[in-house]
């Protein structure tokens, strides 16, 4: 059975939403925090509800609806989301009130909307969709976990047109705490020169993206999701190389068959060591690309890369802004996505032209 990406929608720090273009008009930030560019939510959500919804719920619901619109599907066969931190805005609001108001006279809305499954639930509620509905919350592979479930559901013939996505919001509190934990640069930096100055720390991002998966062939499909795997705590660089090779082999491919490799390079010295090592070894004859200088780093940043890859193979255009080296490449057919989260969780996705 083949798994196809029928449609996609992605809200990010770049102009990725509601446009047919792929990164033609790059947005530069001089900051260590890249906010998502928000669409006009009125097109997707009842204005009365917009007021009550937090940032991540709005992004998630809008991206889900746009993805369904793009795929010309009204009712998905399942709704699956991934998020590491869930609804941070509402969580922080409720926690703050508990402390400041000493548990007295707390309004319930923030608590109600703080659960990690809120986005998937709101999408189901809006569509009156009674189908399978789940939310995966496993750190840097939250989205990949959701995607893995979606692929399994298709294989089990349990559902078709599965709406699967990843959402993450960056709020002031999480940005402050994650900065204190050393994840981000201490000084503002231009995202477009992030890789020119490797240092400790990256730049934070946020966003929401959804995909419709189907096993039905159609010329309208964006791409084929040929493969997906994750692995945990690889022993060393050779182990990672071996696992990538084995993954390709499982799909009867070698690294020579890959037209483009998109990595999770994020400007943090330690994070990027493995990508540099692979670029000099396994991928030495491959064209490689990066995206986190455009999207920022977040737990479900791989959503951005899958959106990118699916649209690249559909349109046959590789935006210059993502290329690692000064090489031109035309119409790639096979794109390998490699990401890792704190050197612990690795994910590989293989996207092919249809």
């Amino acid at each position: 059975m083949k798994v196809y990406i029928r449609s996609s929608a992605c809200i990010s720090a770049q102009r990725t939403f509601g446009t047919g273009d792929i990164l033609t008009d790059i947005v530069e930030y001089n900051s260590t925090r890249l906010p998502a560019i928000e669409p006009d939510y009125k097109e997707f959500i009842d204005p009365k509800q917009i007021r009550r919804m937090s940032h991540v719920i709005k992004m998630g619901v809008a991206a889900a609806k746009e993805c369904l619109n793009n795929g010309d599907v009204e009712m998905p066969g399942a709704i699956i989301t991934g998020t590491a931190f869930g609804c941070m805005e509402d969580t922080v609001t409720f926690l703050t009130r508990i402390i400041e108001q000493e548990e007295e006279l707390l309004p319930p809305t923030a608590f109600i909307q703080s659960t990690h499954n809120t986005v998937a639930a709101q999408v189901a509620l809006m569509l009156k969709c009674h189908a399978y509905n789940s939310t995966f919350v496993h750190k840097g592979i939250s989205f990949e976990s959701a995607l893995f479930d979606a692929v399994m559901l298709l294989q089990e013939q349990e559902a078709d047109n599965i709406l699967v996505g990843g959402t993450e919001e960056m709020v002031d509190t999480s940005f402050t705490v994650l900065t204190r934990l050393g994840f981000y640069r201490r000084k503002p930096v231009s995202n477009l020169s992030l890789f020119a100055t490797p240092e400790k720390g990256t730049i934070g991002g946020e966003g929401a993206g959804f995909f419709l998966l189907t096993d039905k062939e159609s010329p309208d499909n964006l791409a084929e999701l040929t493969g997906l795997t994750t692995f945990y705590k690889p022993t060393d660089n050779q182990d990672i190389e071996r696992r990538i090779t084995a993954f390709l082999q499982k799909h009867s491919l070698t690294v020579k068959d890959i037209d483009l490799v998109i990595t999770g390079k994020n400007g943090d010295i330690k994070n990027d060591e493995i990508y540099a090592w692979l670029n000099a070894s396994l991928f030495k004859n491959n064209v490689t690309a990066n995206y986190k200088h455009l999207s920022g780093e977040y737990s479900v940043a791989s959503v951005f890369s899958l959106w990118l890859a699916a649209n690249i193979v559909k349109k046959g255009i590789v935006p210059d802004a993502i290329l690692e080296d000064d090489v031109k490449i035309n119409a790639p057919k096979k794109v390998l996505l490699l990401n890792h989260y704190q050197n612990k969780y690795y994910s590989l996705m293989l996207v092919s032209a249809v």
């Binding site: 590491a84 548990e103 608590f111 499954n117 998937a120 709101q122 009156k128 509905n133 976990s145 705590k233």
Partner: protein, 399 residues
Amino acid sequence: MEQSVYIAGVGVISGIGTNVAGHLAAFERGEAGMADITLFDSIHQHDRPVAEVKLTDEELIARTGLSTHNSRTALLSLVSAKEAVADAGIPGFNELRTGFVSANTVGGMDKSEEFFVDFLADNSKGKLRNVFDHECGSMTEIVADQLGISDFMTTISTACSSSANAIFYGARLIKNDILDVVVAGGADALTKFTLNGFNTLMILDKDLCKPFDEHREGLNLGEGAGYVVLVSEQVAKTLKKPVYCKLSGYNNSNDAYHQTASSPDGTGSYLAMKKALKKSGLKPSDIDYINLHGTGTPNNDSAEGTAVKRLFQPDFPPMSSTKSFTGHTLGASGGVEAVFSVLAIKHGIIYPNLRFKTQMHEVPFEPETKFQKGKHIKHVMSNSFGFGGNCTSLIFSAV
């Protein structure tokens, strides 16, 4: 024909016991776990009974062998996951393809709350080690590392149905030949966050909860963890003792009615139960016992009761809510109650529904009120419903 997935081991910790044996004894004695709050300071200390696990963090650390100060959720998770793995006693565990699928709802919130008090006063303050493992996934990772499981792990969070979803996700990983063994379930520690959250919704009973009673006034929160060890047919053949039962049916359906409230006719619960039955190939009359979601809130029990009535009438199997013992352990409840369901099959137990007095007006049945043992119980349905309309039913069957 897809392969069967068997339950080879169980582990549980809650307000009524710290292991399987402790729970069986508490059920037989009819002893609920609810009392005043002792885990943290709260203005609700004496007016919102909760079922705390009767071990301090320090005692849990001593029991788990964890040296660092972890979230209570991770500690509870590790205690019961270890019990389940030891109970299963799978030969060659390390050579098999193993996975850990765990669920929780608020991750390391108990520690984040400590952090947040200092942080709120001054953003440069607050011990970072208390917030480092805030994520739900961190709980799973800490425990998987201790269990020596690295082939596959993930975390599910669908509010109060979380760990029921984790269990059947684990079973699907085996059916799809991705893994041989999956430890699946969930954990949640009591936190100030959830206590106040449920309190704002005005669904906490000031006294001990009365699930499925006409005069029920809300739920009592609890905490705990429950895990089952799921194995493939192949692995089941290598075990030194018989498996408990198999997971014969499951379904996840969404109520799609309201973010927190259940639809009056329990659409989501009805669909979950009906489709789980279909998956198992069973008829409603085959079910020998239903472990109800039965939180004790007017809304849940009415919706669930209406759905049970619609699906099972005119003949209702024995049913009860064990939350009358353990309180509502939220993200852990599906795991905790899956363990109870498995034990019901093994020992032929019908659990009593404590404090039941008056039948609900909307249903023609009453929950069981007496502890019964040695009954012939072949098929058990376990319901777990949550915020966001997430409804999941599991069916366990004797083999």
